[in-house]
Symmetry: C2
């Protein structure tokens, strides 16, 4: 998973609200909790469409709301503060002192500024477990749960009755999502709502097989130390195009301070891989890692508000030799670090042995587990092997332990897998991990296209999303080659929005088809602006169109540049429709009789003129 | 299907041989026919790899052979002349006069030059059917068949024993392809070798479920009349990146003359949609089309050497009302033209009624049928509907008629289809079309990403290729929006090379895995140059790498920019492998005992140094 590096250094005050063209930000209030405001992107259609506006899922937060007053030195509004406090199971704590090693022992000169107004740190009261899972099990519907329910429905109550058409492979997707349904899904561990009590700024979202498929984008500091604004802007940019969560994979200097800036300004859940920072604290020497250093790092990040941790507790000592004959060995950074530690000490992975203690830390802040697949395959040749599935079964054991401590859990998956081996990954995960949400990297369906792995992996991501994966971790064109820039991040996010939506369609998610149908009607009726605005990337669609047909007039022309006026198949088939409609439904059945009249009607309708336009 | 338009006008003498970096052109001679030379791209690996060179499929023709003397005013060597003449079943004919309407009645001023040295025109002798299907049925193994056999094997006799690992859904892919196997596949109609007797310049290739999955790229003249060199260069460019066939979708002026230049210089089969030119000849008025004008156009193009024709004979009158209630009606240009004709005259499609006569023309030149899916779905909402499958069953009837006349046949397929409905398309095609090769456009798996339909469709293309589709027609990022430029053509071709190869892997094609494994070994061993050169686009891969790590030294560095030296998982797992290998195979089983020793060996092996690098 690579981390993007952006180019120019950006002043803190440059990050402002920037609405997305072609749509407007709207909010829907809660019913159980009237103070919640669920954001959507609403696309109004041309009057001739005679259709209601289309409501689209929108993870971009206040940054796309023209009325928002953005100041990243202040951070986003802390909309969950009241909800969290109202539950009465958390307390303010002094919080851990920031130490030099937390920022990679950066020199004073190179240190980025601390976030100005550090919020108070929260922790569970003694004996309490303030997790969404604990609440769900106790039968409590939280504001987070209603927020998610409203968000998943995309205001379909305003749309035409939804189409149920798909193969969900045993998922249980309801026609409409109720807060109670969300509670049930969280209670049985089939969905997670990553929402650290120290990240009240986030807009709650759910990751689960029976919800819309989500995508994650990885960001991280560049080798040349970035400005804090640059790091915040990566997160804003990724969510602008549709990233539902963001993982901060930063390493080296300033990572503690930069992480604080990111979390305070992030409307989406933030994930990390704490072993990276722990390794920094021991000078990069894996053998010197200890549980105490790791646990201290978990607390450090949990107090900042990280919403989920990737933890490679499944890389067990006995599994390591299983990778010896692989073509590409161990390709997970965290996995290889733990494997190195295990071998050096010839001891079982301390993350596995002391998993209980890790659970207690996670539960105290409601940090969700993302159980890492440290032994995932790094090549087609290594897919679905003994090492990979031995680890997956172990992740299943650990899931039950975490659930017993009221911790929310996701399971990470591959990797590089040819198409015929993808479904087995989903089936094994469902079999061993009790339907905990699966969170996969791709998978890449071939190894031969460095520079295009957003495509090799979007193929696998769409398929495994269809089979039941709840969140897809994006891959950018720079995978295997270098650090993605801004364009790479956008390309990766859009490739994965495509994969996620294709999966929702194939699963028969009732909210999915509405978007495709609205866009296709616009396409058929030559409502070019509607077609652009309903697309994942209106700017690019408009630009591509204008390269061939720049004139404004052409945006209303009843033909396009591919065929030109004479050949326009859409125009011709509209004539056909007009003619056929003249027949009414009878036409289809009483073909012979109908056809003669159709032919006449057609001539009357001036079909000849139509093609001569 | 859009047609690309390139930018600058190019002088005829500018098109020269331009080798692809990172590999060299090699040829393998035939055994049955020693004079045939089958081209490949050979990638030599770094000496440390201690592996033989990797042989890759190469449709780019002489244009990537530095020893080739390219002169597009002369055309490519006519390597099949002797083979064709030797069969004694064809004769020179005067050939049809070129008429003003053949070039869209272009003015003398705007007319592009005729190809200088027009070759003699061939036609079947009376009663003869010089088709590869006729020869195959007669038990004759042609040079074309041996050429294809050698080409499909990728010189695997030089490689390690092939891995058979996949799910082929009932295909019958052999370990090695023999000329006799090719003959059998052609004889039963399960593969086609598009090879017009008037296109002796082409390097024979096969399209069939039991061969490597192929891809087609569409080109065509731009509205502003292009120079002939520009049009030829589009074909050269598409094949350079891997297009196995090229369809010329040109319309308007000069199309006859430009087509001649393209065919005379094309190493790959050329396909067309003759109804486009026929419509030009009647001033764009579909109602004025007649069978005679259409048949005359078939002869015109067959005499030039077009290798396959898309013919929309399945758009039957009774099926047209079935499209009336679609979201996007009829989106095939040819399909809508015929539908318009049928409605205007209230008559059955003349391509269907007089299919016999069309077959006789096709057989006389060995032009292969590509039976068009004029009623394919243009949106997710319309997929797999009554109209689409009614037409598909009709294409099955027509296949049997064409086969009875020794004509080679492919069947065209969709279109826009959500993932869960893709397999039904393949199953229905196999059920009704006697395993004639399926040739699909994508399918696009969602409608919501204008500007990214090379990705929405690569997902569907990979899947349907896995299920058994023999050739995938590419889609470029400009689909639905405008005319693709050079970059779009490359992006479309590479996305489809990915889809086709992912399909070969999943089917378990014995030639597929070798490429992935070679690249993954290079990746694991940090043989950066090998990784670039084995990729589909070495230039882009190298450029992406160098953006982050420009120094030459880094191309041999044992780490990459994603993790840096401290974190390099590949480096660490190589240490693990070294340690584990010390244990031999025993390690895996006798884990406990083995591990202690491994730990020691590992320290000796200097693992600590390794991470401190």
């Amino acid at each position: 998973m690579n981390a993007p590096t952006l180019n120019a250094s950006i002043p803190v005050d440059q990050i402002k609200a920037e609405p997305r063209p072609g749509g407007r930000k709207v909010y829907q209030a809660g019913q159980l909790f009237p103070d919640i405001r669920v954001p959507f992107r609403e696309v109004a259609l041309h009057p001739t469409a005679n259709e209601p506006p289309v409501t689209l899922y929108d993870p971009s937060g206040p940054y796309t709301d023209p009325t928002a007053d953005i100041d990243i030195a202040r951070g986003l509004p802390r909309l969950r503060d009241a909800w969290i406090e109202a539950r009465g199971d958390v307390q303010p704590v002094p919080g851990r002192e920031v130490r030099p090693e937390d920022n990679g022992r950066v020199s004073d000169a190179a240190r980025v500024p601390q976030f100005p107004s550090l919020p108070p740190v929260r922790r569970a009261r003694a004996g309490a477990r303030p997790t969404q899972l604990a609440y769900a099990r106790a039968g409590i519907v939280t504001p987070e749960m209603e927020f998610v329910a409203i968000r998943e429905n995309l205001r379909r109550e305003q749309s035409a009755p939804c189409v149920r058409d798909g193969e969900s492979w045993g998922a249980s997707i309801p026609d409409f999502v109720t807060p109670e349904f969300v509670r049930q899904e969280v209670a049985r561990g089939r969905a997670v709502i990553p929402a650290n009590i120290n990240h009240p700024e986030l807009e709650p979202m759910a990751i689960g097989r029976n919800f819309l498929v989500k995508i994650n984008a990885n960001i991280g500091n560049s080798a040349v130390t970035s400005s804090v604004a640059e790091e915040v802007e990566k997160m804003v940019w990724a969510t602008r195009w549709g990233a539902d969560t963001v993982m901060d994979l930063s390493t080296g200097r300033n990572i503690h301070n930069i992480r604080e800036w990111i979390i305070r300004n992030s409307p989406v859940p933030i994930g990390t891989v704490p072993i990276y920072q722990a390794l920094e604290k021991v000078g990069g020497v894996a053998e010197d890692l200890t549980f105490d250093i790791f646990a201290d790092t978990l607390i450090e990040q949990a107090e900042q508000g990280v919403d989920y941790f990737t933890i490679h507790a499944g890389v067990r000592l006995p599994f390591i030799p299983m990778t010896a004959n692989r073509v590409t060995g161990i390709v997970s950074r965290g996995g290889s670090i733990m494997a190195k530690w295990c071998l050096a000490h010839h001891k079982e992975n301390f993350l596995y042995e002391r998993f209980d203690e890790i659970c207690e830390i996670m539960a105290a802040y409601d940090v969700s587990f993302s159980l890492g697949d440290g032994l995932r395959p790094g090549s087609i040749a290594d897919a679905n092997d003994e090492a990979q599935f031995a680890e997956l079964r172990t992740l299943g054991e650990l899931t039950k332990i975490a659930w017993a401590r009221d911790c929310q859990v996701m399971i990470e998956g591959p990797g590089h897998v040819a198409m015929h081996k993808i479904k087995a990954n989903m089936d094994e995960q469902l079999r061993h991990c009790g339907e905990a949400p699966f969170y996969t990297l791709g998978p890449l369906t071939t190894d031969i296209a460095p520079g295009y792995d957003h495509i090799t992996s979007a193929i696998g991501a769409a398929m495994i999303g269809w089979f039941g994966t709840a969140m897809l971790c994006y891959v950018t064109p720079k995978e295997h080659l270098g650090l993605p820039d801004k364009q790479d991040v956008k390309d990766g996010v859009i490739a994965y929005k495509i994969a996620a939506h294709a999966a929702d369609l194939a699963k028969g998610h009732p909210a999915a088809r509405l978007h495709d149908d609205a866009l296709s009607r616009a396409r058929f009726e030559f409502r070019w602006e509607d077609q652009f605005n309903l697309g994942l990337d209106p700017e690019t669609a408009r630009q591509y169109h204008d390269e061939t047909l720049p004139k404004e007039a052409h945006k209303t022309a009843h033909f396009c540049s591919m065929c030109g006026p004479k050949f326009c198949s859409m125009k011709i088939s509209q004539d056909i429709r007009d003619a056929a409609r003249g027949e009414g439904a009878a036409a289809a059945s009483e073909a012979e009789a109908g056809m003669r009249e159709m032919a006449e009607k057609f001539r009357e309708a001036g079909g000849e003129v139509a093609v001569r336009v």
